[in-house]
C-alpha cells in the first residue's frame, strides 16, 4: 500500500513537471511561432492581437485645424497600409478606451520618436490594452510620409510584432531605428512583415 502511495506521488510529480514548461499561453496546436531576426519578423507571442480586426481611438479632433491632426491622419494612413495587405482590418473607433489609445507628448530631451507602451494582454497573449505616443518635439517638423510610415510601424507593434535591429533587416517596416529621413527603409509592410502579421494574428 505504501509502495503504491509512493508511486502515486511520484507519478503526480511527473505530471506537474511535464506540463507546460516553456509553453506559451496558446493551445498546443496553435503554438505561437516567434520567428526572430533571422526570419525577418519577430512576433511578441505574449502580446499580440487575437485576429486581424481591431480598433484604435484618440482624443485628437477630426479637424484639419486641430494642432495634432497630422498624427490622427498619420494613424489613418498607417492603418490603411496594413489593411491593404488583406491581413488586418484596423479601424478607428469613436469609443474611448485604453485599448488602442493614440496621443501625443512633447519631450525634446530624447531621440525617441514614438513609444508603444502601457500594453497588457490576457492569459492567451491577446492584447487588452496598448498606447501609442508620438513625440511632437521630434516629429512636428517631419513630413506626412514620415509620420505615416512611423504610424504603420507602431501599428505593427499593436498587431504583435517586435522591433528588428540587425543590419539585415533595415529594409523592413519593423526595423526599430529611423534616420533623419525615411531613406531606404520600408514605409509599408514588406513580405516579411506580412508573414509576421499573419503569424501574430492567427491564434
Amino acid at each position: 500500500m505504501r509502495k503504491h502511495a509512493f508511486i502515486l506521488v511520484l507519478t503526480l510529480a511527473l505530471l506537474i513537471c511535464a506540463v507546460p514548461y516553456g509553453s506559451s499561453a496558446h493551445p498546443p496546436l496553435t503554438t505561437c511561432k516567434e520567428g526572430g531576426e533571422m526570419y525577418g519578423y519577430w512576433v511578441d507571442c505574449g502580446n499580440h492581437q487575437a485576429d486581424g480586426a481591431f480598433t484604435w481611438n484618440t482624443s485628437i479632433p477630426n479637424s484639419v485645424a486641430a494642432v495634432d491632426y497630422p498624427y490622427r491622419a498619420a494613424m489613418t494612413s498607417g492603418a490603411a497600409r496594413w489593411n491593404n495587405t488583406g491581413i488586418t482590418s484596423i479601424s478607428l473607433s469613436t469609443v474611448s478606451s485604453n485599448n488602442g489609445n493614440i496621443y501625443t507628448y512633447s519631450d525634446p530631451n530624447t531621440s525617441a520618436l514614438a513609444l508603444f507602451h502601457d500594453y497588457g494582454s490576457d492569459a492567451s497573449g491577446h492584447l487588452t490594452k496598448w498606447k501609442i505616443k508620438f513625440n511632437k518635439s521630434k516629429l512636428d517638423n517631419k513630413d506626412a510620409s514620415f509620420k505615416a510610415a512611423l504610424a504603420a510601424h507602431e501599428l505593427g507593434h499593436a498587431i504583435g510584432l517586435n522591433d528588428l535591429y540587425l543590419s539585415g533587416n533595415t529594409d523592413k517596416l519593423m526595423y526599430g531605428y529611423f534616420g533623419e529621413t525615411l531613406g531606404t527603409r520600408a514605409a509599408a509592410p514588406t513580405d516579411k512583415d506580412k508573414l509576421g502579421a499573419v503569424e501574430a494574428t492567427r491564434h
Binding site: 526572430g36 525634446p108 531621440s111 520618436l113 540587425l166 526599430g176
Partner: protein, 221 residues
C-alpha cells in the same frame, strides 16, 4: 482490500497515461521548431518599445554638444513623464568636444528606469565608464544635464583599457576600428557582452583609434 488495490492500480494507470499525454502535448518540442528565445527573461519591468532616431557617426559628432568619456557616479532620480528616464551624476574623464566644468561633473539622462525598461537596454551602473555623444537638456533647473544622442545606438561602453562596445547598430563607417585579434577568451567575453544586449547588433571598437577618429572628424568639420 482487493477492491481498493484494484482501484488504486486503475488510478495509477490513468495518472500515468495523463502524464504521458500532457508531456507529449506540451513538453515535447521538435528540434526544428520555429521557437527562438530572445530577450531577457529575468527583467520583469514594463517594456517600452521605442522608435529611435539615429544619426551617422559624422552627424553625431556634428550635432553633439558634448562628447565625453565619463564614469557613472550614482543614480540621482527617476521620472516617468513625459517618458521614463533615470538621471545619473557622472565624473568626466576626458572631454573630446564641448565645454563643461570637469570639477562640477555632469548629469546624464538615460531612457528607462526601475519601472520601465526601454528597448530592453540595461541601465547604467555606478562605476561604469562610457564614451557618450550628448545633447544639453532643455527645461532643466540646472545647466549641466545632458541626454544621449541616439540612445543605445550612441552608447560606447568601456570594455577594457583597449576596447569599447557600441551597444547597438553596427556602423559600417567604423568597421576599420574593430580590433582584428581573435582568441577564445575574447570570443567568450564578446558573447557575454552580447547577452546584455539581446537582439541588438553590438560593435567592438579599438578605444584609442575611436577617439582619434572623433578628433579627426572634429578637425574636418
Amino acid at each position: 482490500m482487493k477492491g481498493i488495490t484494484f482501484n488504486l492500480r486503475t488510478l495509477l494507470a490513468l495518472t500515468a497515461l495523463a502524464a504521458l499525454a500532457a508531456f507529449s502535448l506540451y513538453g515535447y518540442r521538435p528540434a526544428n521548431a520555429d521557437h527562438e528565445i530572445v530577450g531577457s527573461p529575468s527583467d520583469d519591468r514594463i517594456k517600452v518599445k521605442a522608435a529611435i532616431e539615429t544619426l551617422y557617426f559624422e552627424e553625431s559628432v556634428r550635432q553633439a554638444d558634448l562628447i565625453a568619456e565619463v564614469t557613472i557616479a550614482e543614480k540621482l532620480y527617476e521620472v516617468n513623464e513625459p517618458s521614463p528616464k533615470t538621471v545619473y551624476s557622472a565624473a568626466m574623464n576626458q572631454l573630446l568636444k564641448g565645454k563643461a566644468d570637469a570639477n562640477l561633473g555632469i548629469r546624464i539622462m538615460q531612457q528607462g528606469n526601475s519601472r520601465y525598461s526601454f528597448n530592453d537596454n540595461p541601465m547604467f551602473q555606478a562605476g561604469d565608464t562610457y564614451l557618450l555623444f550628448l545633447k544639453k537638456a532643455v527645461g532643466m533647473e540646472d545647466d549641466h544635464t545632458y541626454w544621449i544622442l541616439g540612445e543605445e545606438t550612441s552608447i560606447y561602453e568601456q570594455w577594457d583599457d583597449d576596447r569599447l562596445v557600441k551597444w547597438s547598430l553596427k556602423d559600417s563607417r567604423l568597421a576599420e576600428l574593430t580590433p582584428t585579434e581573435t582568441n577564445a577568451g575574447l570570443q567568450a567575453a564578446a558573447e557575454s557582452v552580447q547577452k546584455k544586449h539581446p537582439g541588438k547588433e553590438i560593435q567592438v571598437l579599438d578605444r584609442t583609434k575611436f577617439k582619434a577618429t572623433i578628433a579627426k572628424e572634429l578637425k574636418r568639420s
